[in-house]
Structure formats: structure tokens, C-alpha cells
């Protein structure tokens, strides 16, 4: 699986396989649409986000309000576009943080056997709780809110990174060429950075892509439970939560934001699957 002397062509070939992979490209298209939509939200949104209009409360999807309006007469489509900024940014921040912490811990655990037991014991304890419950427990301590929800999600997903990275490092550190480099007297951090990290990059990229979706899903779930982003913030999970009370009169209030979450997460899952196939041509 791990290619030691990765020539340039490895990444080129990988890119080619990825572009030929219909699954991955479908994911990329979905993610591009949502990213552009959120980035350009102020420009493309047909209505100002917070504009309330009590004459058109709970109006069904129409040409003026593509996805209908909510209980304050706000345009759901415009709110979704703005909400995408929150969800995608939350996903990005949690993924970057958990990757940094998880990969660091994983490399340390895999490379320095002395602390391995200690770190893995800690991870085992974290993993002895289902991720969502762990996140809820963290929020029980920190209190509800957007930032705390992100911290909770980061803590909940870190163990999966540590596990993946550690086992990848373990498989490489015993290879002859690492022994050789070590015999040359090269410092540990240089070995880690120059020789080990590049070789474990592909599982990290695949995992991060999948975790991006998982984080968005978890953060939305916390918001839906009232533990994350709070209404009236146009966060998608919070929008579904508000819409729940109006389900019988205005299904669009909850169904569309939920659909948005599902599509974005689907995008990341498709891309993740495609990346996995592209990195490892043997599986398929």
C-alpha cells in the first residue's frame, strides 16, 4: 500500500485517476456549487438574510421565494446560502484542528514507542464513548454554543485520526530506509517531516475528506438539539430545529435545510470514496 520512493508520477497518476472517477467528480461538483453559493451569498441571495416580512410568513415555495419563507417571513433560500458559510466554515475549522492534533498525536504515538501506550490508552477511553455522546458530554461541561460545539466535535473525532495515523506510521517506521536514514544520524523531526509524513499523506487526505462531512453532520445535529448554533443564526441544523415546530404547516422550513446538509455531506463522502480509489488503484 505504501509506496516508498514515490516518484512525481504517483501524484500525477493519482490526479488522473481522480479526474476519471465519476464518483469523485460528482462530489467535487456538489461541493463547488455549495462553496460558491456560500462565498457569494451576499451577492446571489435574492433577499437580504434577516429581512422579515410578516405579510409573507410561512409562504410556500414560489418564484419570489424559491424555497418558501419561515415564520418571520424570511427567505429560506437566502438564509440557506448564508447558513452554508457557517456550516462549511465550522466543518473546515473542525477538520483543520482535528487533523493537526490527531496527526501530531498519531505520529508521536507511532514513532515514539514510550508514549504510545499512554496516548493510545487515552484514545481508548475517548473511543469507549460513542462520538455523539462524547460531544454532548463536552458540551455539558462547556455549555451550549457554536464554538463549544466545534470544540466538542474536534474532541470526538480526534481518536479516529490518531488510530489511522499511528498504524500508518508503525508500518513505515520499521522499513529499511527509515533505519538507514536514522543510521545517518538525521534528527527525528526531520525524519518525521521529510520521510514519514509524505508517506502517510494519502490516508490522512481521505480521512479528512470523510471527516469534513462527519463534522458538518455532527455540528448540525448538536445545533438541532439546541446545543450548538442558536437560532436565529441561519445555521442549517438550527433552521431544521426551528422548522420542526412548523412541520405540519410549512414543511419547507425544515426539509430544505436538512436537504442542504445531506447534499454537502454526500459531496464529501463521494469525494472521499473517489480519493480512496484514486490513491489505491488496487481496491476496486
Amino acid at each position: 500500500m505504501v509506496n516508498i520512493n514515490r516518484p512525481e508520477s504517483y501524484w500525477v497518476g493519482m490526479g488522473k485517476r481522480l479526474r476519471r472517477n465519476k464518483t469523485a467528480m460528482a462530489g467535487v461538483v456538489i461541493l463547488l456549487v455549495f462553496t460558491l453559493g456560500s462565498l457569494l451569498a451576499p451577492v446571489v441571495a435574492p433577499h437580504p438574510v434577516e429581512q422579515m416580512n410578516f405579510n409573507s410568513r410561512l409562504s410556500a415555495p414560489s418564484l419570489t421565494h424559491l424555497l418558501g419563507t419561515d415564520d418571520f417571513g424570511r427567505d429560506i433560500f437566502s438564509r440557506l446560502l448564508h447558513g452554508g458559510r457557517i456550516s462549511l466554515l465550522m466543518g473546515l475549522i473542525t477538520v483543520v484542528l482535528s487533523t493537526l492534533v490527531g496527526v501530531t498525536l498519531g505520529i508521536i504515538a507511532g514513532y515514539y514507542r514510550r508514549v504510545d501506550l499512554f496516548i493510545m490508552q487515552g484514545m481508548d477511553i475517548l473511543m469507549s464513548l460513542p462520538a455523539l455522546l462524547l460531544a454532548i458530554a463536552v458540551i455539558a461541561v462547556l455549555g451550549p454554543g457554536l464554538t463549544n460545539a466545534m470544540i466538542a466535535v474536534v474532541i470526538a473525532v480526534i481518536p479516529s485520526y490518531v488510530r489511522v495515523v499511528r498504524s500508518a506510521v508503525l508500518s513505515i517506521r520499521e522499513k529499511e530506509y527509515i533505519e538507514a536514514v536514522r543510521a545517518l544520524g538525521i534528527r527525528d523531526w526531520q525524519i518525521l517531516l521529510k520521510h514519514i509524513l509524505p508517506n502517510i499523506l494519502s490516508p490522512i487526505i481521505v480521512l479528512s475528506t470523510i471527516q469534513f462531512g462527519v463534522s458538518i453532520l455532527a455540528a448540525a445535529a448538536l445545533s438541532f438539539l439546541g446545543l450548538g448554533a442558536q437560532p436565529p443564526m441561519p445555521e442549517w441544523g438550527a433552521m431544521v430545529f426551528v422548522g420542526k415546530a412548523f412541520l405540519s404547516q410549512a414543511w419547507w422550513m425544515s426539509i430544505f435545510p436538512g436537504l442542504a446538509i445531506m447534499l454537502v455531506v454526500l459531496g464529501f463522502n463521494l469525494l472521499g470514496d473517489g480519493l480512496r480509489d484514486a490513491f489505491d488503484p488496487k481496491t476496486r
Partner: protein, 306 residues
Amino acid sequence: MRRYVVKRILSLVGTLLGVSVLIFLMVHLIPGDPATQILGQFATPEAISQLRAKLGLDQPLWQQYMRFVGNLFTGDLGTSLFTGEKVWDQIMNRFPITMQLATLSVIIAAIFGILLGTIAAVKQNTIIDRLVVLTSLLGISAPGFWIALFLIWVFAYKLALFPISGYEGIHSLLLPAITLGMAEAGMIARMTRSSMLEVIKQDYMRTAEAKGAALFRIIVSHGLPNAIIPVVTMIGLQFGSLMAGAVVVETVFTLQGIGSLAIEAIGKRDMPTIQGMVFFMALIFALTNLIVDLIYSRIDPRIHFD
């Protein structure tokens, strides 16, 4: 075998000890004085010192922990700050619904997941295969709370087939169980498919064909028992997550399970209940993992714990 079980139980106790430290610290990690945080700023000093005594906050930390862990392992999870009920009793009152919900959803998910995954593998690279792959990915990607609302909207409001919420017997668990099982079914289908694709290539499948067995028999009798081994493991390992997922589903369907108990407790900052809940879930999680390992040796004759 017995040695293995003893070893596993010991490591289970170790993990639970770790969890106990974690949940013990939960109270002390709350920024500021826990008692004040719990009761709010406007509580009287008497009430606060009373609570401090009740929580044992006036003793040294290690003593507090020793008492805490001693209580935990004797089944005393403390008393709810609000209802005054024993946390253990609260959990036991609500656990049956969550257990029924989780079990029902695992059954639904396993039936659909294994069936669809197997069909997809046998029909690899056909339209049917692609549909299964996409559907299972959709199941994994869809938020549980959204599936719940969608199902309520369609089946309870539009078609009026199911009660909208609350518990009125086992049939009111059907929609929640489907909701909860959706992601699980997706994962099972994906895993069954890839596992079955691997198994189809094996020599013993060709042997079965050479014997004159029909495709159905080859797949069901020779393929499935092999392909299902990793799937069963995954189902077991996911059971804990499934129970955690019940938090969301119980909230939407207003079911009185332990998930909704947890959310209520967080809303009231009822720390003993939250701590008890977390410990209880860790216990269930660890026990299911143990059971999965033991089942594993039953379905795969090659595994021996000696």
C-alpha cells in the same frame, strides 16, 4: 476461551476506570465554581454551600474521586439534582425504550443492508449496483433528525399511517427505528458489498460452482457466511453509536428514552444525571464490544481464543 474472557473483562474494567476519571473531572472542568455554575449566579450562598457539600466539593480531590468511583462500581450513580430520584433508577426507567428502539433499528438495518449489499455485489457494475451504492451513501450522509422529520411529514401528516410522536406501543417505534437504522443500513450495505466482492473471488466459491450448486445457493450458503463476518463485527461496534444516535431520534419523536433524558439533563445542568448517563453508555458500549468478540468466535470457526 475462559482466559480470554477474563482478560477482556479486566481490560473492560480498566477502560471504565478511565471513563470514570473523565466524568469525574467533568464537574471540575466546568469553568468557575461548579456549584455556582449549576445553580446560577442568583443562588443564595447557603444553597451553594449546601450543593457543594452534597457534591462533596469541600473535600480533597482524590477523596472525592475515591468516593465517586466506589459509588460508581457499586451501581450508585448518585441522585438527580432536580427530581431527587436516583440516577440509576431514572436510567432504568427509560432504558427499555432506547433498547427496544436500538434493537429494532439494528434488525431493520441488518436485513436491508445485507440484502442490498449482497445484491449489489452479485450484480457488480450494473445499474442495480450503482443504485445501491448511491442509496447507501445517501443514508450515511442524511442527518438523522432530518430523516425523522421527513418520515413524520410523509407518513404521519400526509399519509396518517403512524402516530406523530410519543410511545403507544411497539408500532410507534417503527418510524424512529427506520430513522435510526438508515445510516446503519447504508454502512452495512457498503461493507457487505465490498466484503462479498472479495468473497466471490475466492476459490471455494468456484468449488461450490463446480459441485453443481445454483447461484443462489452459492451466494447464500457459501458466500454470505464468509462475507458477513466483518459485517457482524461492524454492527456490534456500531451499536453504541446507534444508542447515541437515539438522542436525536428520541428528541424528534418525543420518546422517553435515555437519549432524551440526557438532553433534558444538559438543559438543567443536572450533572449527576449527565455523569451517570455517560458512564452507563460507556458500560453498554464496552459490553456490546465484548459480546461481539464472543459471537465472532461462533461465526468464524478459525478464531480461537487460546
